[in-house]
């Protein structure tokens, strides 16, 4: 039994479930208590002892079913497993699989050595090759990243793999595109060529192909890739045209600009209750990280109220005569937060998400000052405090606060912030910048950011673009990254939660 459970724990671990040795020992002890008589009970026992996160329950259940998917035991228990060779076959696991003990219930002791043989055989199902992401047991990993993609190219030279990887890539891109199509704020006809909010532009793809040339990859693969890339590039103008047409249609159907804005706003604010809850939770977690441990404990201090117990205890050395009063007071290690939020066109499709985040942050932190910028910068703290979410966002995009329709210029905005608001930043301030760092070729003005960073306790930059995209196009992120304490990539609630999770982990 020990071997089987240990092996199962290994499987869980290889699926990113964190199971400590102490927990697997617990599981064994627990199984000794309940016995192996009932499948459901064994599952409950293992789940209670091994799985401590709600999110992991699903994975556990799936793996449990897969691992212990046994037919009722009918034949002799000592039959060794004869499994077909699965190294080159990613089909479903065979249904003929026996684990003497579990199927039998109260197992005879004799089966120990044979157990090991079995679990060794079991291991073949779960060996490294088979567990590779993107294969059937894993089933997820739908998020393709280019870096991973090229990795896969190099590692996996099978002809089919390349094809499927590319397919997934294009599929992923299509998704992005269509999402933008339906977001009226995302693309404006006259700046369309310059400001496509696509993650991968034609130039990027070409550069990727060049990169691949540099790496030692089969020529054939590169040719294939080039062909694919060509297709994508060819498709681009048409797509842009489509988007522009759509835009025109939208404009026609809603000639009034305010009507149009309201429509886009509804999109922006259309947050489901679940999403909202997740967002709240994620931001709370981030909040804790930024605060330092948020606490309301009293701390000893030079000023504050006299604490009777502490004074008495401290002064026992003077026969209880309170010579030396102990003062305690509430001290909150609560730094201020300054949020700088890019609301330019290139990030407009993320504005829904960001402004929500900003709004939440402002309601959670006590001292938050919020600024929005495109090329100039304006403070909107008041706006968020006085109005509801909808009104505030409406106000920001209406152009009354700042001109939201020019090209974004972080350099200029940083300069303005340095000149006008630097006094609000002190050693307790955390500066959070939400932006993609694309300056459209304008002067990046890293010095201004550097000066802000010197005054602030830390600078966290949250960008929607993954790192591989930074050195493509006119993005100044690499420059800014050196100045910031952290740069995080966030574009969905999930990722925000992920970042929060990671921040917390680092702390722990």
């Amino acid at each position: 039994m020990d071997a089987v459970i240990n092996d199962f724990v290994q499987v869980l671990r290889s699926h990113q479930l964190r199971v400590s040795p102490a927990e697997s020992i617990d599981a064994l002890l627990a199984l000794k208590q309940v016995g192996l008589g009932e499948r459901g009970m064994v599952r409950d026992t293992l789940r209670a002892t091994l799985i401590k996160n709600q999110e992991d329950t699903e994975t556990f259940d799936r793996l449990f079913d897969l691992y212990f998917s046994l037919r009722p035991h009918t034949e002799k228990p000592a039959v060794k497993l004869k499994l077909p060779d699965h190294d080159h076959d990613h089909g479903p696991p065979p249904d003929r699989l026996e684990l003497g003990e579990d199927a039998e219930g109260e197992a005879p002791e004799e089966g120990h050595s044979h157990d090991e043989g079995e679990s060794a055989d079991m291991r073949r199902f779960f060996d490294k090759e088979q567990m590779r992401p993107s294969q059937n047991i894993h089933g997820e990993n739908e998020k393709m990243r280019l870096s991973m993609f090229s990795q896969e190219l190099i590692l996996n030279r099978k002809p089919g793999a390349m094809e499927s990887a590319l397919q997934r890539l294009t599929y992923h891109m299509k998704l992005r595109r269509s999402r933008n199509m339906f977001n009226p704020g995302g693309l404006v006809p006259d700046t369309g060529g310059e400001e496509i909010p696509l993650d991968v532009s034609a130039v990027d793809l070409e550069e990727l192909v060049d990169h691949l040339h540099d790496m030692e990859v089969d020529e054939a693969l590169i040719e294939q890739l080039e062909a694919q890339a060509e297709n994508i590039i060819k498709g681009l103008p048409e797509l842009i045209k489509q988007m522009q047409e759509r835009e025109k249609k939208l404009e026609k159907s809603a000639k009034d600009d305010s009507e149009m804005r309201h429509r886009s706003l509804r999109k922006i604010l259309d947050f489901s209750a679940t999403e909202q809850r997740e967002m709240e939770a994620a931001i709370r977690r981030i909040a804790r990280r930024i605060y330092g441990a948020k606490t309301r404990r009293l701390r000893q201090d030079r000023i504050g109220r006299i604490s009777v117990p502490h004074t008495l205890r401290h002064n026992i050395r003077y026969e209880g005569v309170p010579f030396d009063p102990v003062l305690r007071r509430k001290r909150e290690g609560r730094p201020r937060v300054a949020l700088l939020c890019d609301v330019s066109l290139s990030t407009r499709n993320l504005a829904r998400f960001w402004l929500h985040m900003v709004y939440q942050m402002q309601s959670l932190f006590s001292k938050v000052r919020t600024f929005v910028f495109v090329a100039e910068m304006a403070e909107v703290t008041q706006l968020f405090e006085e109005h509801t979410m909808n009104r505030a966002v409406d106000e920001i995009f209406s152009g009354r606060v700042l001109d939201a329709d020019v090209n974004s210029d972080f350099g200029k905005a940083a300069e303005q912030f340095r000149n006008e608001h630097l006094s609000t930043v002190n050693h307790r301030t955390t500066v959070v910048i939400l932006g993609d760092g694309r300056n459209n070729g304008k002067y990046p003005n890293a010095e201004a950011l550097e000066e802000i960073a010197q005054h602030a306790r830390q600078v966290i930059w949250i960008t929607p673009e993954p790192k591989w995209g930074w050195n493509l196009g006119s993005c100044d992120m690499p420059l800014y990254e050196q100045i910031c304490n952290r740069v995080e990539v966030v574009r969905t609630v999930d990722q925000l939660a992920g970042v929060a999770e990671e921040l917390v982990k680092i702390r722990a």
Partner: protein, 332 residues
């Protein structure tokens, strides 16, 4: 404490706590392995009730520690009784003189006094708080550490020693170890993620909303006056509402509240008007109420004022509503 898993179920059932096999297994393991149980789940699914019923079923004392922000050892574990210490020092002054009489010089006096030092830091002067109470109980007790997610992280770290070995270290006395380890139930509403270290030490139990049969059973147990027909209708409606995307889905607590208010109104059936009038029992947010009414086809003639000025939904108000509920109502 319990003979078997079935025994757990049966005895919890006697305490009018309906449990499924999973819950019973975990409780059984907890008593057998002497491990704390971490119960997680949304508000109002019977986390706290589990501890109460468990204490009832096992016939042991229930010691409860409600966590909140700023909770510290002095309130959770022990505190020195400074006043008493002071008083004793004063009263015993003469006695101290006597003790020190035979000593020849100061050095010897100090030595003698040091020998007596532990008199003043003995267990006599300790005020027991819940955790120490649970450790020193004569029989193994049930310790409920409620809503651990509300306490600070420091407190969580402080609990670790207690949870793994059922002992606490008091600097002035030493280590106090439990002779009869308590059954510890920790509950969490997941307002924040608990540390891995804490989770590792506990058995984990995820409580969710019950299925229709179980919920019906609970309603019958807790609100026996309600008619068969009505209870079935009610549970069906509630189950349906949970599939909607609500900010706060109605939990068992709300089901029971609803059942009881229907009993009070002596309603024979669940009519549309009745739903509209009693919607505030199950929906805690304006937006939720609207969604529910639309879903049930009742229609929303005007906004029901639930006492919120603006349905921003940004502030975590569930806690407030928890408090507002009648104290007698079951938080099952």
């Amino acid at each position: 404490m319990f003979e078997s898993i079935e025994d757990v179920r049966e005895r919890l059932g006697n305490q009018s706590y309906v449990s499924d096999k999973r819950l019973a297994t975990v409780v059984f393991l907890a008593t057998r392995l002497n491990k704390p149980v971490l119960v997680e789940g949304p508000a109002g699914v019977g986390k706290t009730e589990l501890a109460k019923s468990l204490a009832g079923a096992a016939g042991s004392e229930l010691i409860r520690l409600q966590c909140y922000e700023g909770l510290d050892e002095a309130k959770a574990l022990y505190e020195w009784e400074y006043g008493k210490q002071m008083l004793y020092t004063q009263v015993l002054r003469e006695k101290i003189g006597e003790v020190l009489q035979p000593t020849k010089d100061l050095r010897e006096a100090v030595e003698t006094l040091r020998g007596q030092e532990d008199v003043f830091f003995s267990e006599n002067f300790l005020v027991e708080r819940p955790i120490l109470q649970a450790i020193q109980a004569d029989e193994s007790a049930v310790l409920l550490i409620d809503e651990i997610d509300r306490a600070d992280e420091e407190f969580e770290a402080f609990l670790l020693e207690f949870l793994s070995d059922y002992q606490v270290s008091i600097p002035e006395i030493g280590t106090v170890k439990a002779e009869h380890p308590p059954v510890v139930i920790l509950t969490s509403n997941r307002t924040r993620e608990l540390s891995e270290a804490l989770k590792r030490r506990c058995l984990h139990l995820q409580l969710g909303y019950p299925n229709k049969e179980v919920e019906l059973e609970i309603v019958r147990l807790k609100a026996p006056q309600i008619s068969e027909e009505l209870s079935e209708e009610l549970v069906r409606t509630i189950q349906e509402l949970r599939t909607l995307d609500l900010r706060k889905a109605p939990s068992i607590g709300e089901t029971l509240d609803w059942a009881q208010s229907l009993v009070v109104l002596s309603a024979p059936r669940l009519s549309k008007e009745l739903i509209e009038e009693t919607i505030s029992v199950i929906a805690k947010y304006d937006r939720d109420a609207e969604k529910i009414l639309t879903h049930l086809g009742v229609g929303v003639p005007e906004r029901k004022d639930l006492g919120q000025k603006e349905p921003t939904g940004e502030r975590p108000e569930e806690a407030l509503y928890e408090h507002r509920r009648r104290p007698g109502a079951h938080t099952h």
